[in-house]
Symmetry: C2
Subunit: 677 residues, 2 copies
């Protein structure tokens, strides 16, 4: 055969199209790497992991014009055949076993490509390479011999150096305790789980697969955990639970106070959150068919108070000026040190905080949305008890927090409640009749007053959640029920009995007592409107101060992060003067961006470094102590005259003003709030 | 005054005698350091710790011929005066406060000298510099300011860099949790406890003093703990306790078996030893008036099986060839990870092991005795269940373990027992009458048979301990009761009823039944003599093989380490053929050398590095598998003809042979076994 006498062959690797000349008899895996095509390999070329499988393409190729190239690779030996059989790999070859004996056109299937990529569900779609901090390698350790110096750990270190170029390794005590049993059970072949290529976390007998991580977003109200396969990057399960600290105080300040007044308060809150994370890990791993002991890495994001309580640090300093963080940089520690019941050597990583009110959760949002990688000016708002705001692009990025208070979350509102089944989620008010239509969480479609869905026993509303209050107030303004300064309009009583006055104080009857689950009417009071005005003014003032600091008049894109941001109607928020004017198509809600950021940091170690760099680079603006804050805040209390303040709202608004009822459906077509899509 | 116009002054520092010219107005502390005289300073020159105090000598000095130099230092300010008052420092100055204004003769009192030294009670007296791995520094941290980036940990790191040149620091989670409280309590002045200048273990408010360490020798039978002040090096308390693992097996092999046969056996033994160390720490700290929580560092030495069980590692591999250690290098971990109830961030360090039978305890003995720093050829023997042997000097050092079995510890001996009150400790047999004299542990002086001390109820012997068996066998040989091959001499029955035969099997009645605590006679049987012969032959063969390997015929010095070595009579050991010939003056017992070595490693971090280097440098010889072992072992079973084999024993022996009774007293004068001194 002419090929066997040729000293070099041409190899083309698809789908990248990389090609090159390789010596006769060379191992395909090595040559692919030399050509810049990284193939997955855990066993280090020992034909056991079956990860480096490739497809030899048939058909004409290159100058030889051959119709089959099967014989252009050395035949499969028994070890390769066995691995392929056990892993159900049919018609493929292992690149680590196959020698190149002739010209080849090779396809690398996606599952064999190293550094898999995940696509982050961010406002701007981002591709994240899977390059986890914790990974597994298979290594073969020589047997101990009588009279030989060094222990098994020293022999493992030598093998990891020789076979994986790893140096200066430490070993966790639990891995040390497992080492000899694993080595003896599989004649020296062990799979080692490494943290940051610096510490051995786990040693398993023989070739083993399976290394998992948990990304956790510890919110004031909700804790969400995302279980990931650290090799593939795949999201295996997501679970959320109430933050049990709620019983010690609903908002951040009341938890800080609880920690101050109760001698064991901090410890109690610390234990509560850790217990909740352990329960989440139990639930998520159960769904994925694994155990919490399989979790070897974890990333936590949280606001500063939650961050400190997770670490067992008294958050008292975060409750008073100068709002000093105990630590602002990233924190690396063992999960066990927090009380987490993962693998005994599992690690925990907390993303950095920026300032006393801008925490690791905001850093995670920035990691997910990456305004620092954009040319366009991006405004990122994460609305919670405080609103964290970031404004900027790759040139400069400012961030701040604004004390919006809990009104947006439904607290301090007469009939407010958390976003839960039964809560009013959306509100529309007919401009003419001033009759409301509502949507409820957990139920499809709009419900008119007097609908049988309300008179039936089940499915009646229990209260009104944050996003619906925003809409209700904006709609009440549009319908002329309240005026620009938020006061109830006494003239509005003429067309609707829903506008009610007691003395000079008005209220709007959203759902009458016959139609609620509680038997009490759901009303929007003057005080509710004041609370919303204060909250939205705080947010808007923060945004405006950042815009002023950056010297810009407008933003290119607005990203609303967090659960609240997912439910809010951007148009109503803009109408109310919560957010600045922007093309409505460019206002997007990204849901749990903090959780996405945590997952990104879990799956890609470079992104942890990026977060640390970013935390140092972003400029924190102290809005509350800004000399212009008070003045701007007062100015922002009113509901703006939309057509002036928001050019982007003009078309639909002017239409509505002219003939509100007729054009209603058109308005709803031209604007698509994300939660109605 | 002429001095104030002089630009430089002469300063002489006593007792070192170092001198130099220093600029007018310079701080004395800085100048002393520049002249190579290190002064203690914890507060970093802030006049608060009072550690750098010096004495200004009066009298004529230098060319100026002044009679007083008090005004050659700047006057004490209020801060210095306050510190001197609160620390009761009279008539002294703080070098960090005093400026040099004229020529000075300064004495640095011993307590002000940095790097204090301790003298190890080793065979060769060694001076150990106090340079602990864990130390305290005082630092002043700037207050947090509104809008400033970074948390308190970042500010502390900056202060530690600026004030102490410390970089790349980590912080223990418990210290992080204490950080803000400490900073706020003392306006930013905190005392930081550091491990290896790399990790912050503890942060205390204000200027604080007190950092302690525990050196622990985990023996198969006994655990000993030594509590030290890590600043002064002072030994504050020593406590010993039985190793509670004894209940799972008396010797090493039975503990290995227990671990194999009981599913929870390893964990149970691990917990038992940790509990015992915690109790020792409780007792030692109570005696010193501190708490176990004040212990911030610890060093452990142990034989390989004890070392592995302390770490929670199954020692099964140490029970079978090739006797593979799980880890041979030094192990650094947090004391908490072992279950030790010290300071939550306290560290634990295990000295390295050399091989499956030569452990960290032997490394500690080598550290304490330092044969590798000697020119003379030193033989170090640590007798226990196994005997660890080291032979060499600064050129080359060999080590081995010999399977002596437990006979030397009194086990497998008819009336053998541990060295405890009531045990026969020394035996002499009259060469003429063959009547014995004995000494008992806990009682003064020799006791003759029939003495009222034996007929009285209390204080009767309970058994015979290892050192006494050695003596008894050697004395029986000298008295002709047994012959060179260890067999009872039937002719010996003629002169003494104490030599008894049942058939052809002889025994020697050491204490009759009326005189023992048990009411049973204490006899030395033929089997006892065989057990001692096997043990001593194993030890001697090990020594001989090392001597052969090194190509030497004799040794310059013999060091007997361990509790057994302290009680043994070197002459009898030599007579019996346990140890090779050596000038008896140069055979020394050093007691708990392993504990001394642990203490050295606790107090001096360079010695930890030295131990690691030593463990890699020392050559381990596998004696049991040596081709000559069997032959030499058989040859070593006999009791040598002393006058030929041991030139150093000749004078006394030849004298005794000639007229044993008359010369007895002379013999005892010419030779002084250490335990009779």
């Amino acid at each position: 055969m002419p090929e066997s006498t040729t000293l070099e062959h041409t190899v083309v690797l698809m789908p990248s199209g990389r090609r090159g000349r390789v010596p006769h008899g060379a191992i395909l895996l090595d040559e692919a790497r030399a050509l810049g095509v990284e193939l997955e390999s855990i066993c280090g070329g020992r034909q056991t992991c079956g990860k480096c499988q490739v497809v030899v393409e048939e058909g004409h190729f290159a100058k030889h014009g051959l119709s089959s190239q099967a014989d252009h690779l050395s035949p499969a030996g028994s070890r390769e055949a066995e691995t392929c059989l056990s892993q159900a790999i049919e018609g493929r070859r292992l690149a680590c076993a196959a020698q190149v004996l002739g010209d080849l056109l090779i396809t690398v299937p996606e599952e064999s490509q190293a550094h898999k990529q995940i696509i982050a569900k961010a406002a701007t779609e981002r591709v994240i390479e899977v390059r986890p901090t914790v990974r597994q390698v298979y290594v073969e350790v020589e047997a101990a011999a009588l009279g030989e110096a060094g222990g098994d750990w020293e022999r493992l270190q030598r093998a990891l150096y020789e076979q994986w170029d790893l140096v200066s390794l430490r070993i966790d005590p639990s891995a040390l305790a497992d080492l000899q049993g694993a080595l003896r059970a599989a004649d020296g072949g062990v799979t080692v789980t490494l943290w940051a290529d610096a510490e051995v976390l786990r040693v398993e007998a023989g070739y083993a697969e399976g290394v998992y991580g948990l990304a956790v977003d510890v919110g004031t109200t909700t804790i969400a955990g995302h279980l990931c396969d650290l090799r593939t990057g795949k999201l295996l399960a997501s679970k959320a639970a109430m933050n049990p600290q709620v019983r010690y105080g609903e908002d951040l300040m009341s938890r800080v106070s609880y920690g101050m007044s109760e001698p064991q308060g901090v410890e109690r809150m610390h234990r509560a959150v850790v217990r909740a994370v352990n329960e989440l890990a139990e639930a998520a791993t159960a769904e994925a068919g694994i155990s919490p002991l399989d979790i070897c890495d974890s990333v936590f994001v949280a606001n500063p108070v939650m961050h400190h309580l997770l670490l067992g640090i008294d958050p008292v300093e975060l409750g008073r000026a100068p709002f000093a963080l105990a630590v602002s940089g990233p924190v690396d520690l063992r999960a066990k040190d927090l009380g987490l019941a993962f693998h005994p050597a599992a690690r925990a990583h907390l993303l950095p905080c920026v300032a006393g009110h801008v925490g690791a959760d905001h850093m995670a949002v920035l990691l997910a949305e990456a305004p620092h990688q954009q040319d366009e000016l991006m405004l990122v708002i994460d609305v919670g008890t405080n609103a964290e705001i970031a404004l900027g692009n790759r040139q400069r990025l400012l961030c701040a927090s604004s004390p919006t208070g809990p009104a947006f979350e439904g607290a301090q509102i007469s009939h407010g409640q958390r976003a839960a089944p039964g809560a009013v989620e959306h509100v529309r008010i007919d401009l003419d009749t001033r009759e409301p239509r509502i949507q409820l969480i957990g139920q499809e479609g709009w419900i008119e007053p007097g609908s049988s869905r309300l008179t039936a026993g089940s499915g009646r509303p229990t209260g009104i959640c944050g996003s619906a209050i925003i809409e209700a107030v904006a709609e009440m303004f549009l319908a002329g029920i309240i005026d620009a300064d938020g006061r109830f309009n006494e003239q509005a009583t003429d067309r609707s009995e829903r506008v009610q006055f007691e003395g000079r104080t008005g209220q709007y009857l959203l759902v009458d007592s016959n139609s609620t689950a509680t038997g009490r009417p759901i009303v929007i009071t003057q005080l509710d409107i004041r609370a919303i005005q204060l909250a939205k003014a705080a947010l808007y003032t923060g945004v405006k101060l950042l815009m002023g600091q950056l010297g810009v008049e407008r933003v290119d894109r607005i990203v609303l992060a967090g659960a609240f941001g997912s439910f809010i109607s951007p148009k109503h928020a803009m109408l109310l003067g919560m957010i600045p004017d922007c093309d409505l198509d460019r206002v997007v809600a990204v849901g749990n961006a903090a959780g996405d950021g945590a997952r990104i940091a879990l799956l890609n170690q470079d992104q942890r470094a990026e977060a640390e760099r970013l935390a140092g680079w972003v400029e924190h603006v102290q809005t509350a102590s800004h000399p212009d804050f008070q003045e701007q805040f007062v100015a922002a209390l009113a509901i703006p005259h939309a057509s002036d303040a928001f050019p982007h709202l003009k078309p639909s608004l002017s239409g509505r003003r002219a003939g509100p009822v007729a054009r209603r459906s058109r308005r709803r077509e031209s604007v698509s709030p994300i939660n109605e899509r």
